[in-house]
Amino acid sequence: MTQLAGTGALIRLVLRRDRLILPLWIVLVTAFFAGTASSFATAYPTLQAQQDFIDNVVSNPAVVALIGPVLDPGVGGLTAWRIGTVGSVVVGLIAILAVVRHTRTEEVEGRQELARAAVVGRSAHLTAVLAVVGAGMLVMAALTGLALAAQGLPASGAFALALALAAVGWVFAGVAALAAEICSTNRAASGVSVAVLALAVVVRMGADVGAGAGPTAWLAWLTPTGWLQQVLPFSEQRWWVFLLFLIVTAALVGAAYAVRDRRDIRAGLLADRLGPAHAGPGLSSVFALTWRQNRGLLLAVVIGYGLLGLLMGSAAPGVAQAGAQLGPFLARLGVANGAEALVILLIYVFAEVLAAYAIMVTLRPRSDETGGLAFVLLATPTSRTRWALSQFVIVVLGTAAAMLVRGVTIGLTYGLATGDLAGQLPAAVGSALAKLPAVWVVAGVAALLFGLVPRLSVALSWAVFVIVLALEIGWEFGSVPDAVFAASPFSYVFPLSGQASLSAVLGLTLVAAVLGAGGLLALRRRDIG
């Protein structure tokens, strides 16, 4: 028990440090879930309207693969369907960021050492943050359950769905806890955890390629996002599925405690090796340094996008064989069949996800600034412009590499599978590259914020990202009009009628360049630090 000494005080510390963000995400997530249910209830009030929606949209295998099949009846079933995957990603990310922030980051920054020198047990930090995140998820579940029930959904179903979302959060809190024990840096710990989250979503997509009944349907049992569906909150209510969540969470958390017991403070599972005593000839400019700092994450993203591309490109034809009728949805996309729609949509969705990477990399100079590295670097004959520009180059080239690899892999596998390599490969590559300018505009906004309002830049940039996603989802459901969706750069590259127009691509590129240049100009005029 002495290992847990001080946990109470640390729980208060976590609550104090997260006193704004914690209530904020609980409220936002609850509002998002409740809002989804209410927009379904408004748009499709009758059983007939709901069935029409399912027949027209959800019968489309591309949509089924992306979001999953509708498994339960009524507004409840539609709500569970729509928020299942997105909700998993959102609560998963929240759990990961919170756990890593209060464990490995504390350790890397040396604050945990200070706390541990007091009467604080070895496992107190880990326990404190798991308690806060675990309880936070429960509060979120309670509020979401209430909000859904208040809209007339069956109460037990509403709470089952909400609790399943919380349980997904617990699993990813466990993933992050283990990753934070194994990896020696906070960046690596978050990176590994987010990769696991992405994998969980992809595996769920694989399971639903056959509309929930194909030969890969068993994959759903390998991923928390799949378990979420399998709870069937508005029909069978399989409460025993929660055992899966609990067992896996307990195993992950148990492993984290076991590693923690065996390692030294600040160490990872692997000891640090010695490196070269002299810098190689390549490490002789700011650009080389920036590349060195960014290459790990960039390679991970590119490889991840490549693997996902291979996987999805080869799985996509199965969608066509699942043989659904062509809904008006496909006509809107201007494609021939469900498989092609899936390819195009996957390229689009992953471009949107890439905006998160672009924001992260664009704002890296900001963390160098607060951490003090900028003082060391800018005291050499390195101009501020070169410093930031080297990072922006990584953003532009890195996102381009990721989308290129994505286009090539998905086009290659899909082209081979359909015997239309000559047609599909260029189409997929062109479609992937055409999305880039929208990603760059988001990065440009982050760059401008970094130049103008450095202290607020991180929070505001992520707010922009969330707004872009919210506009997208709202627009899909028709609750956001076209005129408002036009505020999102992605509206100009949405694959509504085949390829994005050249003028949209050029226009967005120009906007991104102006935003980036504005950021650089502002950076030259302000104080560093």
């Binding site: 810098a279 490490l283 951490g371 003090g372 590295l373 003082f375 004959p381 560093i528």
Partner: protein, 316 residues
Amino acid sequence: MSDAVDVRGLTKSFGSTSVLSDLNLSVGSGEVHGFLGPNGAGKSTTIRVLLGLIRPTSGTISLLGGDPWSDAVELHRRIAYVPGDVTLWPNLTGGEIIDLLARLRGGLDAARRDALIERFELDPQKKARTYSTGNRQKVALVSALSSRADLLILDEPTSGLDPLMERTFRECLTEEKSAGRTVLLSSHILSEVEAACDRVTIIRKGRTVETGTLAQLRHLTRTTIEAELTTVPAQLHADPDIHDLTVERTTVRCQVEPHRMDAVLRILLEGGVRNLVAHPPTLEDLFLEHYQNAGAGPAEAGHGGQHSQHLERTAR
């Protein structure tokens, strides 16, 4: 010879908080200049202005004949800097960082680099994230000292070093001085400053309160006299220039303004001097005087303010 650093009337405010107000600092070429002040006095802020990292609110600043804000990049070819709190790229080794910074600055003395690594007993193969505070400081020091910069700006460079390494640093400082490099040394280790520095500037609450050579500063501060007399002359008690007088039978202790030394000695002689010890104030005395006044507002800087006015005359 023109000054390497010439700062006049520097003020800097962050929003409504004023960090520097009317700060003066001049460092001659080839001079080792001590830059002293209590925690939070504005030393690091001044250094960041000199490096062009932050923009002054007002004041004229000349650094190696240029403007630190607009000519930052050009000037930095001739400057090496050791920050007070050294942050390094965690995934690079110490050796890689030293080489990288040298290449960014435009070259280093490779033989000196290797010699310094040996003298500071630094393991250049370790990743920066595994270094202690002292070892990170050593990386920054080796990098700065092995550069070909004309001006070294060192912000409390030895705060994390052990006494042995601190001695090594002092030796290096002496070598830099004889090699004719200009050094601006911010430090709390007074013996270090006393041993190495030609001139000193003391700031408090963002304002210069003392500047000059150590000898000049001492001249402006009372000398302590301890004398054993045959009889204690009565004038001692009456003289307005004798301070903190204590008389213990025939042993007299007091403090005297430097310009009244002559007169006070004459009075003492009248009592018949059997033993006499007079010592000038140590830097520590000077320093404590200002530190202890730190509670007072900047407007009335005590006699420190008067001193700096004196010095404006005497130092030039």
